[in-house]
Symmetry: C3
Subunit: 652 residues, 3 copies
Amino acid sequence: MTSPALGVCYYPEHWPEDVWESDAARMAEVGIQWVRIGEFAWSRLEATPGNLTFDWIIRAMDVLGRHGLKVVFGTPTATPPRWMVDKHPDMLAVDINGRRRGFGSRRHYDFSHLGYREECARITRLLADAVGSHPALGAWQTDNEYGCHDTTYSYSPAAKEGFQRWLAEKYGSVEALNQAWGNVFWSMEYNRFDQVELPNLLVEKPTPAHALDFRRYSSDQVSAFNKVQYDILKAKRPDLPVIHNFMSRYTDFDHYDLAETLDIASWDSYPLGHLAVSDEPDEVKRQYRRQGEPDNTAFHHDLYRAVGHGRWWIMEQQPGPVNWADFNPDPLPGMARLWAWEAFSHGAEVVTYFRWRQAPFAQEQMHAGLLRPDSEPAPAYHEAMEVAEEIKAVGMAGTATKGRVAVVFDYQSEWAWEVQPQAKGFTHGAHVRAVYSAFRKHGIDIDVLPPSTKSFAGYDIVAIPALFAWNDDLRTAIADFEGHLLIGPRSGSKTQDFSIPSRLGPDLPSNQLDLKVMRVDSIDPSLEVEVKGSGGVHLWRERIETKANVVIEDAEGWPVLVNQGKLYYLGASGTKALVQRVVDYLIEEVDLPILALPAGVRCRTRDGFRVYVNYGSGRATLTQAKDEAGYVLGGAELPAAGVTVARLATAG
Amino acid sequence: MTSPALGVCYYPEHWPEDVWESDAARMAEVGIQWVRIGEFAWSRLEATPGNLTFDWIIRAMDVLGRHGLKVVFGTPTATPPRWMVDKHPDMLAVDINGRRRGFGSRRHYDFSHLGYREECARITRLLADAVGSHPALGAWQTDNEYGCHDTTYSYSPAAKEGFQRWLAEKYGSVEALNQAWGNVFWSMEYNRFDQVELPNLLVEKPTPAHALDFRRYSSDQVSAFNKVQYDILKAKRPDLPVIHNFMSRYTDFDHYDLAETLDIASWDSYPLGHLAVSDEPDEVKRQYRRQGEPDNTAFHHDLYRAVGHGRWWIMEQQPGPVNWADFNPDPLPGMARLWAWEAFSHGAEVVTYFRWRQAPFAQEQMHAGLLRPDSEPAPAYHEAMEVAEEIKAVGMAGTATKGRVAVVFDYQSEWAWEVQPQAKGFTHGAHVRAVYSAFRKHGIDIDVLPPSTKSFAGYDIVAIPALFAWNDDLRTAIADFEGHLLIGPRSGSKTQDFSIPSRLGPDLPSNQLDLKVMRVDSIDPSLEVEVKGSGGVHLWRERIETKANVVIEDAEGWPVLVNQGKLYYLGASGTKALVQRVVDYLIEEVDLPILALPAGVRCRTRDGFRVYVNYGSGRATLTQAKDEAGYVLGGAELPAAGVTVARLATAG
Amino acid sequence: MTSPALGVCYYPEHWPEDVWESDAARMAEVGIQWVRIGEFAWSRLEATPGNLTFDWIIRAMDVLGRHGLKVVFGTPTATPPRWMVDKHPDMLAVDINGRRRGFGSRRHYDFSHLGYREECARITRLLADAVGSHPALGAWQTDNEYGCHDTTYSYSPAAKEGFQRWLAEKYGSVEALNQAWGNVFWSMEYNRFDQVELPNLLVEKPTPAHALDFRRYSSDQVSAFNKVQYDILKAKRPDLPVIHNFMSRYTDFDHYDLAETLDIASWDSYPLGHLAVSDEPDEVKRQYRRQGEPDNTAFHHDLYRAVGHGRWWIMEQQPGPVNWADFNPDPLPGMARLWAWEAFSHGAEVVTYFRWRQAPFAQEQMHAGLLRPDSEPAPAYHEAMEVAEEIKAVGMAGTATKGRVAVVFDYQSEWAWEVQPQAKGFTHGAHVRAVYSAFRKHGIDIDVLPPSTKSFAGYDIVAIPALFAWNDDLRTAIADFEGHLLIGPRSGSKTQDFSIPSRLGPDLPSNQLDLKVMRVDSIDPSLEVEVKGSGGVHLWRERIETKANVVIEDAEGWPVLVNQGKLYYLGASGTKALVQRVVDYLIEEVDLPILALPAGVRCRTRDGFRVYVNYGSGRATLTQAKDEAGYVLGGAELPAAGVTVARLATAG
């Protein structure tokens, strides 16, 4: 694999053509190798139906190519022009309150609308023909940020018909659907598929299976939408990778599924905005407002490495203040460099800054770029240049080192607990990230695994927190696993049809885990139940019946952590302290090597290098690790937003 | 009257027929005598229009009957099948935002829709014919939880037409309506009844009389809906009682009115869920999260005793964690027993647990039953069995002892202050419950009285807090009363037409109470005005002009409690401490005997027994009361969730 | 100019005709000179279409005139009768969620509906003819509280068509609109004006220029609506002033613009309600709940003096508790007097109490009047009488003294930052009021200036905080100003088309201010960045590049206050302490005389008098100022809610 590279997002249509040349020259000067273009330009490519004008963007590609820049070309399907809405008025999605969502921004289309899907196929085909052979072209991007602005779900007639067809195909008979959904419960039985309603505007909640199936259906539409473009682009240029830029913490559709028609996954990393809109506690938001939460970005790196089957980019990297959160801080000096290095250490092939020049107009005029609106360099311009030089100097290549620890993340489990939290705020993701952070505090490399994983071989420890229902692959992986397995609360507590399994959760064979969750105590978050020893339980605890060994119990004698062989079951939402205690216990059991990291410092290894980043707002001092052979960038003293790269003694 | 009995809610349609027999046997083994069935089974009784299949439910009744169980048969009208919506698309209610509320859960009907009302008459008639003579049948239930999921109000065309007809009948002429509503105020005068709009989606609030009349109209529709079924069921079996299961703290329709076509009132008691969704302070929610608020359940017992003219049941008793609050705690061990005993002590004839077996599917799969989904006993199974044995052993029968204290509760006053709070959060119910709790802390038996009460004879003290408008009956009762009367803030401050009375509130003859409320100081809840002596005033205080005797005044010299003869007027929302002070003052005036109860302990007397229950989370020690002749269940030491029954010395 | 006078709002249609005479006599007894009538009486003036009955209101005017009272006659167009909606069903406005806002309260009309506008012209013409020559008539009022209840904006078809026409007129070509709005950004380009949508129910925010233009359009409709009535009334009686009663803190339309067709501005002053619904901190709300925030009322006095080009009234003065806030306190005894005196000291010609008698019916039955509903005097009756006597005794006349300090307030800047806050809660008004209060704490007279000001001559200090875009007049005023100028954060950071100016904000010539705002750090309000010396920065700070002199910088070395000549730029949202420090610095630079006022005391000068008012809840002691010649009302000791008037030594 080649060395990491930098990129930038560029909108030639926003600037006079006579600026393109100097823009390209300056990009090259910074050390940028990739330029993403095109994804919002439909109204300039086809100003009225059929009036195609691709010449100008080809000229832009010519300019970029002349400066040695490679182009990622984005299909413009996230921004259909106004005339498209005249042509297909019902292509507009309908929100959960039954209101059409109008033209005037972006993503104003319904994934269930087959007419619009065909329009997207048409423009993709035309573009593939027009620019597909351009020498500067290096990759494709499909659409832009699927799901952004809550656009995965639509409650339109098109969605209703599509959902009914999808159900007919899935269940075969309406009796099977009635059975699977438990429709006998409140006389909700359907006589025909065309009677099935969408699960919005009901009197009371729908059956959870109804809600979950609608999410599965909607997710499938996003994947199907992407496949149309993928097939066209690959048919034209089988050699070029097709990429999509996902949004972090957007889980409305299954990214693993969609990535079946991608070659590389990418995601858009806005650490400050994401912290601002997250549900992190206020003190974390204050402490890290100019850096971002120290584990969140890394978690997404590892997630999208899994989504992309190992290949992934940052397609949009925050370069300065953004415009879309309630509060949009200025990153600490150095963060635009730190974020790039951190991404590379987790295996990113390319980090593409968004965007080249801050636009003085329209919705994102307060979103920084590498250049200010007056074309002077913004701080990230210089930081990007620094990164470009450093990656050359360090000589890192290869891929992210495989971890000894893995954690399973599952989109369907996110949907399941949103549909039925039972304790408000109970989510799959929070449990996954809690375990992830507890391992990462010790400098341990972690992999994220999809629920389709068939084998855990090679890992010392695998964690499966709050996973709603087993599938056959996971059952096999669990049965065959010889390492330590930590199963978190609520895992396996449902069938795929969103019912309680007949042997109750966690629904594992008793020779694996002889344990039943009898009932749940759901706890107001202002309360914490003490745990014997240390730590606490909050939000959720399970009353379990077990013959397994109780490792930890709470102050009222409820088992919290039990184990049977190498399988551990955590029957509660632990506080940060308790999750750390459980993770530390496992690390000790396995005798996994750990690092003593200063607060706020994190690290990851790739290709024989360990990259340290300092998210703290003060200076930190590293202790040289046993497996390191010295620093090749920075040193033991890490300033705020600082980066140090160590070469591993064991490195090839 | 016979001894208290236990019941359970059962859904034969949810389980294979071959399980019915053992289910019935185990019910009998627990000591259960009553089984409620049928109320959600319409799609199994009539899968398509006119396709009636009652045979299976008759077989289920046969099975139950064979085990000596009596059946409460519920009409299934809360869950019309999907085909009904095809037949009557406009039967779906419309919410306050103008949106149709769709099929897919329950209660998807509009009380104003006369076509659906006729369908309900039809199925009720058919059911009465089919099962009305079954030997196991012991009672009927109409529909299920009227008003649940905010279904009393609909803003549909049907509701609008119904409202206009109702107004025409009430007012006779549009001039009378304009006069009553004060429509001259903003040129809101109507020329014809068919111009009257529903009071939603206006630019500013409607006149309060408009809003109140719409609530009265809507309440009347619920009563009319019930009457249709009641008349049919009584015509078939005049000997069997007709019951409805009300929801606590649901006050959108007038339960007293509706109960004119009931023989027995019942209510569904979910103490933990109700505490979770209540507006109790957070510390109360934390302290009692696994027990419920200690006075709320009892208040509803006393309320529904009034609603049922003395006859009442618990139709659904929480047996473990439920599924519908934001947080759903596990009850303390013993609570399923405590709640049953407490209900019996307040006069319940039957306490019916909801439900027999936890359903592993559909909306309520996280709602506990007496059995777990795997058919093993849940904790409440054993607790119910204990109760069944204990009630036999104790030998309590008869009715709840008539109290020496009564408090008036009025649904229209709830509506009135919701329409016009003047201080946000000012409610009738909160004032009623505050007084209720202050008396109950002393172990005093309290009765709840409806506003239609014509005489207070027999009571030592009657309290009327925050009652919006007098009616003739109440005026008579007040004038004739020889006991002590406590009138709370805002009482009598409006006419029945929601205007200020010409002599201002509280609008009593000056020989009864020479006092006028000149204006109101409405107070942000973060503030408290001190009261001379002790206690405080918050939310609401009245500037009153009076010749009566000032008993208590606040630190700024505003009269708080005044009295004239045996009539006391409290012109403020008191803090808990102040309400207790006022109540204690009255108790002393009347020389009412009180008990010294440990914190968290409450009691009630019935049929010569006093039942103590411990809502505290620790052990409590009772002091033997003077009127007691010893304990017949438990003893002076009450564990958490414990029950002690004392025999009264004076008992028959 | 004549002496200040009192008035009252009166609704003869609400009371039996035989009460009018005594009402008028008692008004005269109080010392009232003006009576506003008519503005809600349409249904009594025209009960059915064309059925005109003006006789009764003429008789009411006769009665009032007989008692020497002058009438302000309000056109009744804020309350179209029910039959009007039958005639023009589409005259009802549509809310931002797309719902028609129904009949049943007031202001149920769409400013874009030309048919209703014509109906208003018709009734105004008829009224002008019927009462325009009545000898008691002294002034007109148009409509009532434009914009109240969020009625400036409508999202109706009429609004859409009107907006499209307005845009076509403004931009001439759709290309110009696309350019101005930056529609290329997300392919949002329009092909024709009739494709332009209203900026509601979009998928994501519209371009800020789109949102701002819709606000400009909507504001223009309100002005156009008023002009129709103004032209008719002035044609009939050129000698009589036309007034409108604005709402404080309602900034949805441009009051300066509308006042181009007014002779006198007036506003409706409800200090307690306004504090309750404001975003003041809770401790301020508690401290001043019975007085109102001490600077808010005064600010609006000064604002409406600017809106009215010097001539202004209070058209509705709160006399006691009101009904429309969440909590409606009882004013401290004396406040109804204090508020009147404060208004007069800021130049009010008339203070009109709302209302004469509290209405026992309809929406405002809990709104106090000078009389109680039982016609007994409420406290404000006596306080008004006191004021009437005092103004005679003091002999104040003339106008408010011109200040030496001015602050610019701009409605478009309110819209701009609502459209694009960037830091949640960032507003123009808050910055204006912060500076205003800091000057006023020192007893300094302040003028408010509109953005159309062409010259700042005569002022020592002018402040322009958070003004979004310069216009030519302001640029001239700044360039020519010889005093000290304080420009606040974000000023000049946009063009009129809501883009970032090419030389970045604050976009002033470098010979005036050599400074560029490079980017912004938007700060969660729970954080505060320390400032060297004292004070702090919160919510907003700008990273600036400047060659000017740095006067104050924050603890991290960011410039906060810089100056170049007499121009000062404040590049941050300061805490109260920092704004005071900056203002104090300027006062010292200019050597402006200040007063040492006790906490809670404020003052203003008019016509050679200085009026002190005490908003504190305790007694305060004044120090005689050097320029005073003694007290003519009250004295150095000011009780809570007290008023003292000093005669200035320099007074004419």
